[in-house]
Symmetry: C2
């Protein structure tokens, strides 16, 4: 079993073993797999463990009472479910698997000890908290102020950069397991309208999205559309 991304992630930053072997379970570290579409974490549930995605894609979301849902963030291999989960027992969002995933869990107390052995402002956890906050507030501005094309372009750029940070892309082609419904629930549109905008992008030779692959044809134009 391999975990092609783990070098770049949260585990290596903390010198934690990636724990991809189910036999490696012990009292402060354990391991789990889950199929695509399965809910992995439920909003409000408490755990004394902090989770890290080791393989596959997942997403944080909030379920609304009227049936809608807001996707908050997509998790890539190496990402902790949430950087602030180090501080809070109860999660303030749910998590669902987008593809088949592998998850590691670490006892929160253990992680906290490793993090705060020497309180360094430049620690990977601190960095992660800061960049999460930046991303979230910036995305707030996108949802509050930008029209459909810009929202979608922004999301694509954001994901492209995160994927590219982990894996070298060949010819601007990126693995992209999202359905249009996921894009819609992220940027606050309907899947019907997402389909229309993506068709436009394809016609205008900006990006082409199909079969789980995102192909960027005109990056400059995408950036022109998707920047704040």
């Amino acid at each position: 079993m391999t975990c092609s991304y783990r070098e770049a992630g949260f585990c290596s930053a903390l010198s934690l073993p990636p724990s991809l072997d189910p036999q490696a379970d012990n009292n402060w570290q354990h391991f789990k797999g889950a199929d695509a579409g399965k809910q992995i974490l439920t909003k409000g549930s408490s755990s004394d463990h902090v989770f890290v995605l080791c393989a596959g894609w997942a997403f944080q979301y909030i379920q609304l009472s009227d049936g809608g849902r807001q996707i908050l963030k997509f998790l890539l291999p190496g990402d902790p479910f949430s950087s602030i989960s180090i501080f809070e027992e109860a999660s303030h969002f749910s998590v669902k698997a987008l593809t088949r995933v592998q998850i590691s869990g670490f006892a929160r107390s253990e992680i906290r000890n490793r993090c705060f052995a020497e309180p360094d402002a430049q620690s990977p956890i601190t960095q992660s908290i800061v960049s999460d906050a930046r991303d979230t507030t910036e995305f707030l501005a996108v949802l509050g102020q930008c029209p459909a094309e810009q929202r979608i372009a922004y999301l694509l750029l954001h994901l492209i950069r995160r994927i590219a940070a982990r894996r070298v892309s060949r010819e601007q082609r990126y693995p992209f397991p999202l359905r249009q419904q996921h894009i819609a629930d992220t940027v606050g549109l309907t899947s019907v309208h997402v389909s229309r905008v993506l068709s436009l992008f394809r016609d205008r030779r900006i990006v082409a999205l199909s079969e789980g692959v995102l192909e960027v044809v005109d990056l400059a134009e995408l950036e022109r559309i998707g920047s704040l």
Copy 2:
């Protein structure tokens, strides 16, 4: 000079003197005032100080290149400009005064020492970071998924609760220095539409907003409209 709110805020939580006396300036702590409408902090600017609002109202925002702006959060007396500013030198948003304000600044190094003398997960800063993250993600869901009435009701409820936590309200009347344009820039609508919705709320005897005072007539109904 009085600072009626300060007992509830960030300073007292850290046992910091509120520094309301301009003469009290020294090398790790200083003090400033600013008039309503004045920009207090600029996105991207760096400082080795952490700022706390001592009196008055202010707001965090992001300025868009197309002229729009997204208001991220309203700051009430006792609020730090941002809880994560403890970790980052450069601010990722701007801050503007809504009323005449009083601001204290503390050397970041000093604050950090006091915070992490004993790394306690229940420290006020930790709490503040966690609740900020919760608020922001919840508001993301509101912007992404909710129609105008719900957005505005949600914002009003959110502010009411925060005001009430600091000051006892008389007959459901709250100080409320926002212009309709501020509401609009927060919830992603135009001020014209905000005016229409507020008129509806007034007609339906839910809330009445005028002359800097927010009067809640039917809290139950407001909560029915403004909850997720």
